[in-house]
């Protein structure tokens, strides 16, 4: 018995594309083609991997399973994804993570834009949908293009503390990234063989050697992006890619200088934290001034007390804290926005305060600030963070009292922890046994 023929969908669109960008002869650039796209893609791939891995690690660094640390809406799968305790060593681990995250992101943006340009004819390919597989792939590409621009630009505006949107940055950046990474992984799986073949056949460097007179278009193939009727070349491949590389390295430089800090900071040009404040002991980069969060002399003056609780309760004045054993360490304050600054902090060890509260083996501590509002007016630290000898309730910095902007009367400094957890203007610490 003969099997019935599969019921193929009949083409409902005309076979001949309408005039305009759907026709292959519309696209004239002699540089556009699979080689260019493959080269840009293979540079983008490691950058996106670094950016994604450090992004998810950044989420883990908050120890989101503790207290109210998770900044994502509750109820996600494994809050989302991570359950391991963030280490305290090396002390610059968070500075490195965020430096890599922001630097790889900024390096990637120009390459992403060049890559989007290089595949423009695909948006208008004819017929628009060839099969179910093609339809699904195009839907995924919409998520890839939208996801990439959404994630990179929300991150970019966040480091400039500019929030023109109604949603919470962190939630949107995180879930936007999940959409982007899902579409990105599919795209890499589907396209890597083509990119590999193209670069193997044409070489990585060979097409860069040609001067303008020898800049030949890539051969036209139906369904690919090389032009059917190329115009005359106006720029060599090396000059075009050199411009993209200059933009990428320039953006990466801006991010790297403020991640490393120190003398490099002032060379960061357009970096949000590239301006040196001064040379004084308290003149280093600030995240959230006292004035902004409405903290002044009234709350931080002689009436200030640190409320300690655990097995017992105590209220300590600043003088009483200064009378406890003091320790000094060089530790970085590293911001989620990718900048960091290392200073010499002096204060009381968290583990000494735990003993003071009657719970020397504390499993966690909830630290609260005088700050009235905001999800980050409090933070919870894990047992390893309390036990580390370098974890301090700092009272002084670089040999002088903390300034109000740096958290006077007392602030937390925990090695390896996110800067926003290094709570300023500490008012209470609640140690928990379990």
């Amino acid at each position: 018995m003969k099997l019935p023929r599969p019921n193929l969908p009949r083409p409902r669109v005309p076979e001949e594309p309408p005039p305009g960008p759907t026709r292959p002869e519309f696209w004239r650039s002699p540089l556009r083609g699979p080689w260019l796209t493959s080269l840009l893609g293979s540079v983008l791939l490691p950058l996106v991997i670094v950016c994604a891995v450090t992004g998810f690690l950044s989420q883990a660094s908050y120890n989101p399973d503790l207290g109210r640390n998770s900044l994502l809406p509750s109820g996600g799968i494994g809050a989302d994804l991570f359950f391991f305790t963030w280490p305290t060593s090396p002390s610059w681990i968070y500075a490195l993570n965020q430096g890599l995250h922001v630097t790889s992101g900024l390096l990637a943006i120009p390459i992403l834009l060049a890559k989007l340009w290089s595949v423009m004819p695909k948006l208008f390919e004819w017929p628009p949908i060839r099969s179910l597989a093609h339809l699904l792939e195009r839907a995924s590409l919409a998520l890839l293009v939208g996801g990439s621009i959404f994630v990179f630009f929300t991150g970019l505006l966040n480091i400039q503390v500019y929030y023109p949107w109604p949603f919470r940055f962190l939630t949107a950046h995180y879930y936007g990234a999940l959409v982007f990474i899902a579409a990105f992984a599919l795209h890499v799986a589907l396209k890597l063989p083509l990119a590999w073949r193209t670069l193997r056949d044409r070489g990585v460097v060979a097409p860069l050697r040609a001067d303008l007179a020898h800049t030949e278009p890539e051969p036209y193939e139906e369904g690919h992006t090389a032009p059917l009727e190329p115009g005359p070349p106006t720029i060599t491949r090396r000059a075009m890619l050199g411009t993209v590389a200059a933009a990428s390295l320039g953006a990466g430089w801006i991010a790297a200088t403020q991640a490393i800090g120190g003398p490099l900071r002032s060379l960061g040009l357009l970096g949000p934290h590239s301006t040196k404040i001064g040379d004084g002991p308290n003149e280093f980069q600030v995240n959230k001034t006292a004035a902004k969060v409405g903290i002044g002399q009234a709350e931080t003056g002689a009436g200030w007390r640190l409320k300690l609780s655990g097995a017992s309760e105590a209220e300590l004045t600043r003088e009483q804290l200064l009378a406890l054993p003091q320790h000094s360490y060089d530790l970085p304050i590293a911001c989620v926005e990718g900048w960091s600054t290392t200073q010499r902090w002096t204060g009381v060890r968290l583990r000494d305060l735990a003993a003071e509260a009657g719970v020397p083996e504390a499993k966690s501590v909830l630290v609260e600030s005088l700050q009235k509002g905001g999800a980050l007016r409090q933070a919870t630290f894990a047992a390893n963070q309390i036990a580390d000898e370098q974890s301090l309730l700092a009272l002084r910095v670089n040999g002088v009292d903390l300034s109000l902007d740096h958290g006077f009367p007392a602030r937390i400094v925990v090695p390896g922890a996110p800067g926003v957890h290094c709570t300023k203007w500490v008012s209470a610490m609640q140690f928990e046994v379990s």
């Binding site: 599969p6 193929l8 809406p73 109820g75 996600g76 799968i77 989302d80 900024l106 943006i109 989007l116 340009w117 423009m120 099969s131 179910l132 597989a133 093609h134 699904l136 792939e137 995924s140 919409a142 998520l143 293009v145 939208g146 996801g147 621009i149 959404f150 505006l157 400039q160 503390v161 500019y162 949603f167 919470r168 939630t171 949107a172 879930y175 936007g176 999940l178 959409v179 990474i181 899902a182 579409a183 599919l186 589907l190 005359p232 070349p233 106006t234 720029i235 411009t243 320039g250 953006a251 040009l269 357009l270 949000p272 301006t275 404040i277 980069q285 600030v286 959230k288 001034t289 004035a291």
Partner: protein
């Protein structure tokens, strides 16, 4: 298998990969859907889908078309201009515009209150620095262009002189 391909258009592995990818993306969208600002997210995400392909691309392509038609390529060569000015204008322009695209909130002071409250730094420096960067890019490009034009002139003159010396018999 052939019937599957005719029906679907790719291998079954393709479909599995697509479904896995959509499942993760779908999870993320559902999580967003539960937030009070979900609509805002989807509007911005939608805008991000079209931002380059349907808005930025037509605009910068038009600028490039105008620049190419007036300054570059064949026409410049026909006009016996040895060095087309196109790229000496286009490259610094692209780099300067890119710096603005990345850092426009600081350069234009859009987040001034937030930025100055957070950092205790002045936002005003960024416009100056961007203008300085742009000036440096265009001046650098102009210098390279001037050197290339000069060299082309010298080469042309030498060729002409060599041509005169070699063509002495014709005189």
């Amino acid at each position: 298998m052939a019937r599957w391909r005719a029906l679907y258009g790719a291998s079954p592995l393709h479909l599995m990969a697509v479904i896995a990818s959509f499942a993760v993306a779908g999870y993320a969208f559902f999580r967003i859907f539960d937030t009070p600002t979900a609509l805002g997210f989807f509007v911005w995400f939608g805008a991000a889908i079209v931002a380059h392909d349907l808005i930025a691309f037509p605009l910068y392509s038009l600028l490039n078309l105008i620049a190419t038609r007036t300054l570059g390529g064949e026409r410049a060569r026909e006009a016996s201009r040895a060095v087309p000015a196109l790229n000496y204008l286009r490259i610094p322009f692209v780099l300067s515009a890119f710096a603005l695209l990345l850092f426009f909130p600081l350069i234009l002071g859009l987040s001034a209150d937030n930025y100055e409250g957070d950092t205790a730094l002045s936002v005003g420096v960024f416009l100056e620095r961007w203008l300085g960067l742009s000036a440096a890019l265009f001046i650098g490009s102009a210098l390279v262009y001037a050197v290339r034009v000069r060299r082309a002139h010298v080469d042309a003159r030498r060729e002409a002189e060599a041509g005169d010396a070699g063509g002495g018999d014709d005189a």
